[in-house]
């Protein structure tokens, strides 16, 4: 396998998934998923619980074989191969460390089986423990370690056999907030240094945004969008992605002409109407931080009068609930402490705000369908 990967065409993806479908009874967990992952990439599967991200990871690992579809790893078809025939290491949310074995024995678990000589195993284990920042801890048992330390051991164990692919199944979810932040950086750093292709499953958008090279956003067993963190955040492909990654206010609108739309009688310009024809009912999305207050003249395009209805103090900034004077449309806006002071924003004040055309995202899904889904 090694020689194959060396000689493999650089263009060829390390992992390719074609039309993968997995059903549990009548429930379709994965619906025709296709995906390519390149060598050395860090990819996050992001989505709410039940979206199929873990099912997809387990199918890639061969732990739960898909009903239909193909998995190609390093040019080799492993669709039906058992896990041991695939080249990967895995880390679970529960750590899954063997409690009766020392840290060193846990890390060396896979090496013993490959008939490595004792001395080489010991060297390799020491090397790995140093790598994950736990040198000299080899003689301890898992219960003697903190959650964060246990997860490092699990990581070392997964990397011990130098797998071509590292799978992380919500590795940080069981840890408390501070440890999570630190380990997030460490894992990312480690992955960069080793260059090992990595897939991480998470429901935490912040985790995905900070760690991933590319994010695969999933919902209801289908891929909603694949893109870099910036693409996913700044140009969400669907209203679901916009809502799940970051915060967005949504309004009901209608396209009036090319890149022109109206929301509750207010005419607005947008940069991208997704080629939808005039007259189409659409959902318009706006990120709170895009609402502009400084240097806004009332005669500029896309400006409107709003009243400050509510202010929620969030430390570094305030989230304001605004309501347009004309049309009575609620809008969320984030104002920095600075801005609040400079512009003297207080409750019940009337402001003139601008909504840049580039910040208005048009989605084809009508808003009532969107909210119906949320309710369900």
């Amino acid at each position: 396998m090694v020689s194959e990967s060396m000689s493999a065409d650089a263009e060829q993806p390390f992992l390719q998934i074609d039309n993968m479908t997995k059903r549990f009874g009548h429930f379709t967990a994965l619906d025709q998923i296709s995906l390519q992952i390149h060598s050395g990439e860090f990819v996050c599967f992001l989505g709410p619980s039940g979206c199929g991200k873990t099912t997809l990871l387990r199918a890639i690992a061969g732990l739960d074989i898909q009903d239909e579809g193909r998995v190609t790893m390093n040019g080799r078809d492993v669709s039906l191969a058992p896990p041991a025939d695939r080249d990967f290491g895995i880390v679970f949310q529960s750590y899954a460390l063997f409690p009766n074995l020392t840290v060193a024995a846990n890390v060396g678990y896979g090496l013993v089986n490959q008939r490595w000589p004792q001395r080489r195993i010991a060297e390799r284990v020491a090397e790995l423990l140093a790598l994950v920042g736990l040198p000299e801890q080899g003689e301890k048992y898992p219960v003697q370690l903190s959650g964060g330390q246990q997860q490092r051991v699990a990581l070392a164990r997964a990397l011990a056999t130098s797998p071509g692919l590292l799978l992380l199944d919500e590795p940080l979810s069981a840890l408390d907030a501070r440890v999570r932040l630190r380990l997030r950086e460490e894992i990312r750093d480690l992955q960069r240094r080793l260059g090992v292709t990595t897939i991480m499953v998470t429901h935490d958008q912040e985790e995905a945004l900070t760690m991933a090279d590319r994010i695969v956003v999933m919902n209801h067993g289908v891929i909603e969008q694949i893109g870099t963190p910036n693409e996913v955040y700044a140009r969400p492909a669907t209203a679901f992605v916009a809502d799940f990654v970051g915060t967005m206010s949504f309004f009901e609108g209608t396209l009036t002409a090319s890149n022109q739309l109206t929301v509750a009688g207010i005419d607005l310009a947008c940069d991208d109407d997704r080629g939808l024809s005039a007259g189409t009912r659409v959902t318009v999305g706006l990120r709170p931080e895009e609402v502009r207050v400084r240097d806004v003249a009332p005669d500029q395009p896309n400006t409107l009068q709003v009243r400050v209805e509510d202010l929620e103090y969030l430390g570094a900034f305030c989230r304001a609930r605004l309501r347009t004077i004309a049309g009575d449309v609620p809008i969320l806006a984030d104002f920095s402490a600075n801005l609040m002071r400079d512009m003297q924003i207080t409750l019940d004040r009337t402001l003139t705000v601008a909504l840049p055309a580039s910040s208005l995202h048009v989605f084809a899904t009508p808003i009532d369908e969107l909210t119906a889904e949320e309710a369900a």
């Binding site: 690992a61 041991a84 290491g89 895995i90 009766n100 219960v143 164990r157 797998p163 260059g195």
Partner: protein, 571 residues
């Protein structure tokens, strides 16, 4: 960069490993298949043999329900049915309140010496059921020192059966009720108290509803144990016929296999019913307690605690006496005329053609059943729970493993007679051998052990197998290096459970032993039949002593050995 990940393990290693891969499925599949074959032979086919025998006549022709019709047309046999129901109902009505109060004292009071009282209540588990009947013969029998208390009634009959059954089933009921009462939400009591609720109302509205499923379950278990028990009515039933003794007489005495099969089928009814109720009840009991519940902590209260101590002392004394008198009497010269000490009753060759052999056969059988049974059951539970090959076969194996608990020993024994003694069956070479006794005993107590093993296995992280697979370690390595060490306490529990039950069981094996393989418990029945009651008591004492010795050994092992070598369990 030198550190890792530039995939340096040589390709030939991974290729060689890879070529071994399919065998993992093969091994798992073979183990599942073996388990299925074992369970088919040991439980499914014998049960089917019993079922078919009950609808065939002596010449093997299908006669439908004619055997059942003949049974219900026979007034003597129908009387036995009513006798059995009466005895079982009466024993249940007596033992449940007794055991509930006892379990309440153990869980809801601050009475001292709780572990001791708990241990005393469980004593009868270490003896054959008929041991308490032997004691009753000494206390209330024709030469009994308290015979006057019966006001001219005889102990040989319903009175004796019921008293002995109450003793025998008491620990089973206490075990269930202690669990039920132990699963309580202390917050409910605090709320009730805060609302100024009276103690009796709290008992009625919080305690009883919380324990109701345990009560139902215990009642069914006791009823089934009584109706299917053979040893007690055999020893102390006198002329009072019950279903269990009818089966024995029909099969062993009259070779009337068809009638035996009919009674066996009838005995299966309450057992299957109890099993179904227990499964439903268990599901509800678990749902009753939310994950946030805080266990109830009783507060000391002098008068109440003292009252319960007195109650428990009396009950524990009676339970201990029901076994102790037989032990005592086994060392007595000639009851009740010469009460001097003797070991003459242990000179078994005087009373029993096989001498001490039955005892050693029992120990050997129990040891074999314990070792082989533990290996089969734990490995079986592992492949069912943790491997992924052949889901249908694993489901089927689990179904078969859950069957034996619904089959009373007597019925299982009958099934074995019909299946293994059949002339067409090549397996009939095993009839009356130690092999069949071991297989029968393992099967008889399979389900409880299977559940114990499953429970232990379910507590282990289910990703261990996934991790092993990702590290290319075959499952049997993980089984050996991780699963077995983690489950060692449960494995020991299973081994001890099988050993003790193998030592004390009478009902299934009574049909299966041969001249060379007579067991101690059967020898008791024979010596009692021959009138050597003291020798029977002596043999029973040997069984109890052996069972308790094994249990004590188990506790010591658990405390010292496991505590020392399993320090990784604690921080």
């Amino acid at each position: 960069m030198s550190v890792t990940a530039t995939r340096q393990p040589t390709p030939d290693i991974s290729r060689r490993r890879a070529s071994l891969r399919p065998s993992e499925n093969l091994v798992a599949g073979a183990l599942v298949a073996l388990l299925c074959v074992f369970l088919l032979i040991s439980i499914a086919f014998p049960l089917y043999a019993l079922l078919s025998k009950s609808v065939l006549n002596a010449r093997g022709e299908f006669v439908g329900l004619a055997n059942f019709a003949a049974y219900f047309a026979n007034p003597i046999l129908v009387t036995s049915l009513f006798n059995s129901l009466f005895i079982a109902a009466l024993s249940t009505v007596i033992v449940i309140p007794l055991a509930f109060t006892y379990a309440y004292a153990l869980t809801r009071t601050c009475m001292p010496a709780k572990p001791l009282f708990y241990a005393l209540a469980l004593l009868p588990l270490f003896a054959p059921s008929l041991m308490s009947a032997l004691s009753l013969v000494y206390i209330f029998g024709n030469q009994g020192f308290l015979r006057w208390m019966l006001f001219g009634n005889t102990i040989y009959g319903p009175i004796g059966i019921v008293i002995a059954q109450v003793t025998y089933t008491f620990p089973h009921a206490v075990l269930i009720l202690v669990t039920a009462l132990g699963l309580s939400d202390g917050r409910l009591y605090e709320v009730a108290d805060a609302l100024g609720t009276s103690k009796t109302r709290i008992f009625r509205t919080v305690t009883l509803p919380g324990a109701q499923y345990g009560l139902i379950s215990a009642a069914f278990v006791v009823f089934t144990l009584v109706i299917t028990d053979f040893g007690i009515p055999k020893v102390i039933g006198g002329q009072y016929n019950v279903l269990a003794t009818d089966v024995y007489r029909a099969v062993v005495g009259q070779q009337n296999f068809e009638m035996g099969a009919v009674v066996g089928m009838i005995l299966l009814v309450p057992a299957v019913l109890a099993y179904s109720v227990d499964r439903i009840v268990n599901r509800r009991q678990v749902a009753l307690l939310s994950a946030r519940a805080v266990p109830y902590q009783p507060a000391p209260k002098k008068a109440r605690d003292l009252g319960f101590v007195v109650y428990c002392l009396v009950v524990a004394f009676l339970v201990a006496a029901a076994l102790g008198v037989a032990v005592w009497a086994s060392f007595i010269q000639y009851w009740p005329y010469n009460l001097s000490f003797t070991t003459a009753n242990y000179n078994f060759p005087r009373f029993e053609p096989n001498g001490w052999n039955p005892y050693f056969t029992s120990v050997k059988m129990a040891a074999l059943a314990s070792i082989i049974g533990t290996v089969v059951i734990f490995t079986g539970a592992y492949v069912i729970e943790k491997t992924k090959a052949f889901p249908m076969a694993r489901g089927f194996a689990h179904f078969l493993a859950m069957l034996p608990v619904a089959v009373p020993g007597l019925v299982l024994g009958l099934g074995y007679v019909f299946f293994f003694n059949a002339p067409w069956n090549p397996l009939n070479i095993f009839y009356a051998t130690l092999t069949i006794l071991v297989v029968n005993t393992i099967t008889h107590f399979f389900t409880v052990s299977h559940i114990t093993a499953l429970t232990a296995l379910k507590q282990i992280d289910r990703e261990f197998e996934s991790v092993s697979a990702s590290l290319k370690v075959p499952f049997w390595n993980t089984f050996r290096r991780v699963t077995v060490p983690i489950c060692l306490p449960s494995i020991l529990d299973i081994a001890v459970y099988l050993f003790i039950n193998a030592m004390t069981t009478v009902s299934a094996v009574i049909f299966l032993y041969g001249a060379q393989t007579k067991l101690a418990s059967i020898s008791i029945v024979h010596m009692d039949e021959a009138g050597f009651i003291a020798a029977a008591a002596a043999m029973a004492t040997m069984i109890v002593a052996t069972s308790i010795a094994v249990k004590v050994l188990h506790i010591l092992l658990d405390r010292f050995f496991l505590a020392r070598f399993q320090f990784w369990r604690r921080r």
